[in-house]
Symmetry: D3
Subunit: 290 residues, 6 copies
Amino acid sequence: MIALAILELDLLRIVDTAIGEDLGMGDVTTDSLIDPDWQAEGSILAKEPGVLAGLPVAQAVFRRVDPSIRFEPKIADGERIRPGDIIGLVTGSANTILKAERCALNFMQRLSGVATLTRLMVDAVGEIPVRVTETRKTTPGLRALEKYAVRIGGGHNHRHNLADGVLIKDNHLEAMAAAGFGLPEAVRRARQRASHMVQIEIEITSLDQIEDALEAGPDWILLDNMSPDLMREAVSRVAGRAKVEASGGITLDKVRAVAESGVDLISSGALTHSYKALDISLELSYRPSK
Amino acid sequence: MIALAILELDLLRIVDTAIGEDLGMGDVTTDSLIDPDWQAEGSILAKEPGVLAGLPVAQAVFRRVDPSIRFEPKIADGERIRPGDIIGLVTGSANTILKAERCALNFMQRLSGVATLTRLMVDAVGEIPVRVTETRKTTPGLRALEKYAVRIGGGHNHRHNLADGVLIKDNHLEAMAAAGFGLPEAVRRARQRASHMVQIEIEITSLDQIEDALEAGPDWILLDNMSPDLMREAVSRVAGRAKVEASGGITLDKVRAVAESGVDLISSGALTHSYKALDISLELSYRPSK
Amino acid sequence: MIALAILELDLLRIVDTAIGEDLGMGDVTTDSLIDPDWQAEGSILAKEPGVLAGLPVAQAVFRRVDPSIRFEPKIADGERIRPGDIIGLVTGSANTILKAERCALNFMQRLSGVATLTRLMVDAVGEIPVRVTETRKTTPGLRALEKYAVRIGGGHNHRHNLADGVLIKDNHLEAMAAAGFGLPEAVRRARQRASHMVQIEIEITSLDQIEDALEAGPDWILLDNMSPDLMREAVSRVAGRAKVEASGGITLDKVRAVAESGVDLISSGALTHSYKALDISLELSYRPSK
Amino acid sequence: MIALAILELDLLRIVDTAIGEDLGMGDVTTDSLIDPDWQAEGSILAKEPGVLAGLPVAQAVFRRVDPSIRFEPKIADGERIRPGDIIGLVTGSANTILKAERCALNFMQRLSGVATLTRLMVDAVGEIPVRVTETRKTTPGLRALEKYAVRIGGGHNHRHNLADGVLIKDNHLEAMAAAGFGLPEAVRRARQRASHMVQIEIEITSLDQIEDALEAGPDWILLDNMSPDLMREAVSRVAGRAKVEASGGITLDKVRAVAESGVDLISSGALTHSYKALDISLELSYRPSK
Amino acid sequence: MIALAILELDLLRIVDTAIGEDLGMGDVTTDSLIDPDWQAEGSILAKEPGVLAGLPVAQAVFRRVDPSIRFEPKIADGERIRPGDIIGLVTGSANTILKAERCALNFMQRLSGVATLTRLMVDAVGEIPVRVTETRKTTPGLRALEKYAVRIGGGHNHRHNLADGVLIKDNHLEAMAAAGFGLPEAVRRARQRASHMVQIEIEITSLDQIEDALEAGPDWILLDNMSPDLMREAVSRVAGRAKVEASGGITLDKVRAVAESGVDLISSGALTHSYKALDISLELSYRPSK
Amino acid sequence: MIALAILELDLLRIVDTAIGEDLGMGDVTTDSLIDPDWQAEGSILAKEPGVLAGLPVAQAVFRRVDPSIRFEPKIADGERIRPGDIIGLVTGSANTILKAERCALNFMQRLSGVATLTRLMVDAVGEIPVRVTETRKTTPGLRALEKYAVRIGGGHNHRHNLADGVLIKDNHLEAMAAAGFGLPEAVRRARQRASHMVQIEIEITSLDQIEDALEAGPDWILLDNMSPDLMREAVSRVAGRAKVEASGGITLDKVRAVAESGVDLISSGALTHSYKALDISLELSYRPSK
């Protein structure tokens, strides 16, 4: 089982914000028309094929809008869905189900979108032993949820944030040169400052940076925006002296070629910044009130 | 000038959450390597063509990370950008510019993505006098920002939330039938409950619902998921007795045909749930410290 | 049933703030004297005649102070109360009932004050088909609750806030003149900017502004601070070309005359800024501990 | 000078909540019509006689809506105002002044209402050396501000909350009897539990409770809902063995008689639960933009 | 029973902050290895002798991390513990118990440290009728909890904060001199401004200040940093005209001598700023899953 | 320079909480006696020898209480202080300096206590190349600040929280056995789940666990509560196949012996749970008002 891995408190803050945005000072339509006592059953339906993700978030939405709503998933996060599949059943007050609907669906549609795209990339990579991860280009406010969706889709996670991994990039290199010190000193300083549990990675953009970078003793080398051919050459030159990550412009149609270059990890911003929300809907049927 | 129209407080909460997600307990790489006193200038560069949106949000990110960073836009929100354009200049401490970079770009890339797609739809509609709006399928937590991006892209906004507009949908209709009352009573109840400044809209999915709906006296009729031909027929039957909105599966390639059907407003969920983030980057150049 | 129409989250923030203000670092008297295990029953008693409002807020206070307190209303919000009426029974720990008492009563006394004054105005208006609403002069922090109390008292609500209705006032008119544009252009701009679901209202202070205002095509005309006679004349001149609202200095003794002028809606700031809290108290009787 | 005595943080939370309530997702009227660059000057005008209170709160409202608004009070909190008096001048962007207006006035009108009623009571008491204070019947969320308004009006403050004063009331007495202990033990327990800096008060409702109460050794005796005659008798029986507070149904027309009974302090719930907001308005005049 | 005397809301904020700090974006070790369904029983064990404090806080930690964890204390707050004692049993999901463990123990260890040191001081004072209290030198963010631990250890509490007691210190005296007024005027002003339920204390640092101080009529005199001999002399000179507090550098080895000087109250900053956390641990034993 | 490495937002929340605790509803003493316009200069003085830490936190306290207070440090964080040293000067309103004083000192005293103890341990280790770190036994709410103080004292930091490092402990081992899998599988699972930038550590309590642990391929072995002799033997057996951490009961008098055992890192809970606050005070001198 893949844990959501977000503090309940943080999940509720995200969910409450979304509910607040959508409900504002109340659902005037529903409150005008639908008696709080009327009971209903809703089916959450897949309208497109993909990989499901977001059940615990939808669950939280229903619970926050009305703790007496019962949400019973029929399909688990990570499973494939096809148009017409019943993802889950929602029973309770018609009034509050209608209020929670859009918000619950918004989360599921987006997270399933991320999981679906991740699964496509992971499947494209196939048997090649390489990790597929997201980058830091996540939706502001939803990073933890999108990282969960990546795991659900079969991917792995990169570092959470700037505190738990050292990644020395182009801009850092330039600054260091200005200050008169190079990569070996940079890696030395970073190891000194960072926790002993953190690894160190250096980003390079051309093959001729490889030897300098390796000399500094990083745990990882990141190849930025290289062609698969260049990556293969880079992997061959690194020759096991560090692990190798590929990043920059990784899309579904390129990911297999990148994987074949022999890198250890592929990170793709597209997983979280350019996925398509999966179409999922809710259909209510009313039941005689109790 | 198009106002951002979000409370400073709410903007800061969004921005601070994003910064918190990305910085966590500090940027260990930058703090290890880059002295807070080193000055730098960064150019924010367009890498793809589109419509720019998000400057005041990026502005807020820089201000929250370090109030002494100066951000000087060279292009205004709403203008078209081409690859290589300098969107703006950022000057200040290299250390804090690097910390703010990803977060500022994440907002600009996404909001520009929304504005770009909106502009494409609005341009496709061309001279036809019809509004293009988003729906409630916005990114949880970012609704106000995405609505701003829609306006920036030349679109209009639909209601903010469930409190400031009455929209009687399928599920409401079914519930009302169960309770033994129909559309006329529903509209009467909604008018009674809602503020006198709010308008009333009824969603229909087939032509034979039109007369019933109109009899109830709504301000708007929403045509859900109809073909352009059906819409044209619907508009003709409504014959000015209410305004008409088209919704459901509106994509860029369909929007012109929908507009030609004579509807007054087109709402598209895709504007906010399936846009592609625009590629925008930051390039630093260091300056001798003062 | 009239819904409270406030997010649970927002209600709890209001209630928690009130509890925090009153309890601070603990009720030193009660904690010194009353064992948490001692059980009690409290009767909430009406001491003045009026209309009851605030039960769900009092309910929330008791639940937040101690979820095991049972609060059983005997009279519903909106019903008339007379001195001596038992509004509800509270049973549970004497210690925590005493801590919640003042806070729960403070809400009920005020909201019942608003509902009572509203009911008096609505009754004064009697059979005349005109809405009575509050204005934006609500108690800071309690707007949603006071709007609920207005509905409970038989009134209607005006717009929630500045985002969900266009009201062009004196000060706007003066600014527009300075900018060289008048009411028609103002209404055009507002319609362009606002959601299509929002209506537009123009405030006028003298009869000679009527024709100009109507020419701009608003949905509503607001007559500010006019005598009933002037209002009757205004209504006659508007002649159905827009709906008409009366506002400014509306008090209980004037409201009937205003209603008779033929306006469609009367808004009164007094409903929320100058009501008198209704006297309501709690009387405890102790029960042998379980 | 009388300090506001509220944490900046708490003041901002109150002010921000009020602004959020009123502005919601933006002032659609003002943003449609008034360019942010247009400059204006507003006069805050008294429309009714009374005592001014609330300047620092209004100040905070303007600052939070737009830090570049300049608010220059012409009259100080605590001074008397007459209709037509210019309370202060507000200069800056017409757009943001209009957004802040209602919210700033709401605070000033209410706090001036409290200060005015307090001043009336204090003046009625005149030369008699007795304190006039509010009770805990304050507006939920605004206690600190209303206590400030009471001080501004010449009154004093009772305890802030249940933590910083011991007040043994009717309901406590009954509970103590059930537990088999009386006032002397109650006072002993309270002194033991409470900080040594806190005083102890006992509420009594009839004269025959006086000796029992005094025997317990309280610092204060509270006479609840007694007639001035009974109070005079009570004061005479207490004979200086404790200080004496009068409470319960204290209104402006009764306060002098109560004061003459010889009590040391008079607390009145009406000061904060049944004041009338003072009429104060803002009149804008536009200035050519800079 | 000694009440925790903190608002549930404030307790949860403290506890949630602590959980957030420790869990961050999830316990990657436990989530990798321990299935959420595996059940376990944990024993909370004393490893050092002392006085237990903090059960309700630990309780809250477990509840917030996982409401289904059952925590059953075997020893009550305030009881003495010896190495090996089972303080309580924790049963539930092994996964979530492991996540809550460190955080729950951190609170118990620290609060027990405060209670233990307080108990040692109170026992040292023995039969002498003098209060032992903490000062305002509490851990930022944990004041209410540490004050509870002091009470649990047999001590009393000083004022909560600067609002609920008047303490005129050295620095105030100097300022008053500059302004041309002395202690009598200072006490007069403080009595005038403060609630009538608050007492007034004057800090002195040498014997020759006593008469001046007493003349001003305070309720308490605070002897700052005096030797026990000087204190005895001070007490004798005060001669009952005010209560006397001793403060400044009070440690366990000095407290008896200070108590013998005849003061009424001893306040010690060391109780909360220099206690040693008590060693307490959790030992898990796994149980076959249900 | 050592960065504080905490989000401004999080620092302010900590500081505001502390100010709120201490000021409550205002400093009644200071507001009664000290005019806000009176200017003063305060010297912050060391009263004990140690290592200074906490300047940016004290800075934030002064800024939050009154942005016009000027705080000018004379000694930098990390420098040694001796009794009588002037740590910094504070100039501004006497009124607000007095309000901020205790709160600013509370932070500096505690953080200097942590830095001082860390420095003592680091100096005791001397030339031996071993890191000294804190553990997760930090003060609830103050983890980031205490970690900063450890760095200031010459120490290093362990992982921030449970998300950014894998540490398999005793309790995990027992659970894994129950589930039928051992260390190799545990490490495999953890590597699979955790980010590739995270290292993996295994805790052992006896020498005979070493080979099993190493076989699983961790990056680090943690020796829990072993004597220096056992540690030396463990280091020799590990023989460079992993890095080695010593933990459990590390105190100042033992740390040198532990370091001599050859471990790579020593983590000590005492650094943050049993330090002594350093004595630091503020002395005001008044200056004629401007």
